[in-house]
Amino acid sequence: MKEKIEVLRQKFQSQMAEVSDDSRLEELRLSFMSKKGAIQDLMKELSQIPNDQKKEAGQLINAFKQEVQSKFDEKKVEIAALAEKLLLDATESYDESMPSACPTGSYHPITLIQRELEDIFESMGFDVEDYNEIVDDYHCFEALNIPKFHPARDMQDTYYLSTPNQLLKSHTSAAQNHIMKKYGPKLKESGRPIRAVFPGRCFRNEAIDACHENTFFQMEGVMIDKDISISNLIYFMKTMLSEVFEKDVTVRLRPGFFPFVEPGFELDIQCLICGGDGCPSCKNSGWLELCPCGMIHPNVLKHGGINTEENPFEYTGFAFGLGLTRLAMMKYGVKDIRVFNEGDINALSQFTSK
């Protein structure tokens, strides 16, 4: 029996050495381990072996069977490992540096700057309002204390319309009266201060070049309450602008004349480029004229229904105007204002963020 097993082992080993895939392995396994397989044949021969040798021969066959089984198990793992290796080897290693499509759209730069500012104002408790682009004479001028014959009302600067008393709004201040009438009742009933900003398109009859546009964006803001003071105005402007420019800005106020504020100011910020030492972008003055502001004129508050003839100073407030188009130019380094309204995708598609 020993010899027979040895012959069989030799045969098994030589056949096993040639096996390289799962199906051949199974074939080989069946030829040895199945009921009709070579080992079963040995088992059958056991009956012809003398009884005293039977035990030993049985043990030999069993040992051989186990040996074959473990070889099969090993081989199976080996083949799987090989297959996995082949699969891995066959897999392509991808080159991420190959240019790939990046289908991103873009926002208009005004949308970007407007959102940024609206976020800041909302975080400071301001309502964000929207207003018409077509307004009437009353809202654009009269309610703002701009007298009948003021140059701002001249035809050559303002786009009047063929409809009665209407024009394309020449400044966002045209919304002040609307804001006051909308939020005034709440101010009086529950003491909720009026804090609102209203961005919008404005129109002025200008010849267009790199620095001038007839269609541009402003953002106006008002704050009205019982005791709003000049001191509050300066504090607020400084805080707000520091947020806008993401650094502590130095502001200064100088007298400026606008019919709808009194006192009125021109607000300058210390030049962000040179820090006040003087450079070409601040024309060597160290300051940049940034936005007009002021205490809302008593007549404007009266027109807005905030104060009465009898008590013209019950509530006070301030207003300010930011040039959104100009801020966007400063922020994104746009040198030619025409980029904004001429719809060149090459230029506009760069404004992708947010």
Binding site: T104, G105, Y107, H108, T111, R115, E118, E122, G125, V128, E129, D130, N132, E133, I134, P151, M155, Q156, Y159, L161, S162, T163, P164, Q166, L168, R192, P193, R195, R201, F203, T215, M223, D227, S229, I230, S231, N232, I234, Y235, F236, T239, R252, L253, R254, P255, G256, F257, E262, P263, G264, E266, H297, P298, F313, F340, N341, G343, D344, I345, L348
Partner: protein
Amino acid sequence: MLVSMNWIKDFVNLDGEDLEKLIKRFTLSTAEVEDIFYKGSDVSNVVVGEIISCENHPDSDHLHVLKVDGGDAIYDVVCGAPNARAGIKTAFAKVGGQVGDIKIKPAKLRGVESNGMCCSEKEIGISDNHEGIMELDPSYANGTDIKEIFPIDDVVFEVDNKSLTNRPDLWGHYGMAREFAALTGQKVKELEVMENPYTGDKTVDVEIRNNELCYRYTSVRVENITKTQSLDYMKIRLYYCGTRAINLLADLTNYLMLELGQPMHAFDGTKIGKIVVDTPKENCKFTTLDGIERDITTDTLMIHDGDTPVAVAGIMGGLDSEIKDDTNSLVLESANFDGVSIRKSASRLALRTDASARYEKTLDPEMTMLAVKRFLKLLFDVDQDAQVASLITDVYTKKYPELSVEFDKKFIDRYTGIDISADRIKNTLEALGFETKMDGENFVSKVPTWRATKDVSMKADIVEEITRIYGYDNFEIKTTLSPLLPAKTSKLRIEENAIKDLLVKAYAMNEVHSRIWQDEDDLKAIELEVEDNVKLLGFSENVGVLRNSMMQTLLPFVNKNKNVKPDFSIFEVGRVVLGTNEDGTANERRHLGIVLYSKTETEKTLYFRGVEIVNTIVDQLKHKKATYEKIEMTHAFMHPKNTSSISVKGEKIGTINTMYPKNLAKIAKNASIVMIEIDMDDLLKIEPKALDFKEPSKFPGIDYDLSLVIPEGLRFETIERCWKKGRNNLKDVSVIDVYDNGKVKSVTIRFHFENDERTLTSEEVQEVIDKTLLNLKDINVELKV
């Protein structure tokens, strides 16, 4: 406006003040200073030099060789001036000195040594006269520093005129000086004037026929004027302030205007009999003193001599009555005219002068008399032989009311938010000319006439006066004490932002801004015409007509960008005007316009992308479904077959369409365009459906697919009516495949059945399917075999 500090110092003592600092404070307290010029800082070592001898240069036909006595020595100088000659005294720049950009060094001119330079007025910067070297009064000692004779050194600053629009009082040096006085805690000195020495009873005959437009006319006649030249200091000041010296009388009127801000006009006394101020009865021609003949309309205020026009009031005099160098008598005009009328006339005539610029600001009529008396004083400083030949005639038709403002310190404290002492309040106002009575903390301030024409009338104005002089830099700044209450983003803004985010991020679109009006050329380029609508006034036909669709401005953008990329989409949220409302006002609407453009995709694919975009917008914002209905085209650029309205629950919100082939071909051959226009205000009105959460079923569902052949022209929404989602356990229906070979069109629809409480049997599902198939048969939809 240019301001000379030497001039200012006539009226306020600034000894020991740092002028540069003071001027910077002026910016913060009064008006914006744009530039500061240090006049005379580039002139040094220039003295009175006497030309002792003058020989022709041996090697030149125009140069002279001079010996100049510079006081300390005799200098050899080569000079090219035509008026160089022995015996005259001139301005002589010595070696080591400087005139303008020229540093004086010893030099050789055509072989002859030259040590110094004889100067013209232009070279030392006091006029633009460069005809020859200066000829000085022989009484000056040789070697005297030129700066001792001429006030060359001055600090001149330029104020932004725009920042003076509301301050008529600042259009002259005297008013400016008042500001400097207030800034340095002083009061401005009184102006020196001359009372009229004339004792007869003659007047200037003045009649104001239009007293709406002329408030006051003050005049005097002066004769026997023999001097023709102004004093040097006056010429230099005029020059530094941007005006050329002409002759004594013209210079004096200019000087007065720059000093007081009061424009004046001197007529040739021999040409004026009776002054009449009126608008002409009919349009006429008139030649102004610049020699230009102008068309005068009947709303232009004119000064007449009797019936003959002699000046455009407040703007410019006439050529015929102009003062000449040899004029020896004058009739002086010092008047006050309506500011608006002057501005309109100046703009009509396209003739904006220094005088009209001042009148526009609404000048103080009180000034006219003062100006006349000041004129006499300055004239007699030069010409003691002149004779006043009339009383000062003063016709004053329109006087402003006197204004006083009452206020208390509490008001000032509240408005400023800081504590400015009562004394400081009083002193500031007094320095600015507001006579102020103080009783404890109560004040009454009289507004000075020069501030009362429009600028100051109430308490808030008084606050400005006090605070600007106090200085905003000196303010303690504080936050408000307003209550804390929520401020929420408006629904309008949320929707607008959501749509922009969706279009940019999910559909890679480019947001653009276009103008609100149609552009005829842009439209013509794609064979479209301007559509009639509300328009801008004052523009010719087809110009400035507002858009009634976003497409009128977006399609030209597509046309402009067609070669940038083969595929792109643009959008804008903007305003359109849909004609007029019942009351005649413009019907302004907020619209979203989207244009999809592709050269690689079929129009059909693009169109369904458009539908998908609309569906997504409506679903994301409203949790509702958009429905479509074919409509007639409403604009020429729309396709007659594929133009549909978009509605949500029966409310129309917009349109989607492809482009009319003719116009499409103009943009590009083989390109596809799809347009979407949504009325954002209509969309905003649609209430979003609230979220209604349902627990997912724990029991498995059953899917049942049907492949259906769709007859030509049958819309899917008709097929959809054959089943009822939400009933009979039919939870969801989706199209999983569409087949269309041009002849046969079929769709595969997956019906998903599900029940929350049990597992469904195939029988009950089959029952619903069978019913559906019967319904489908009714509309001739068969199963695909």
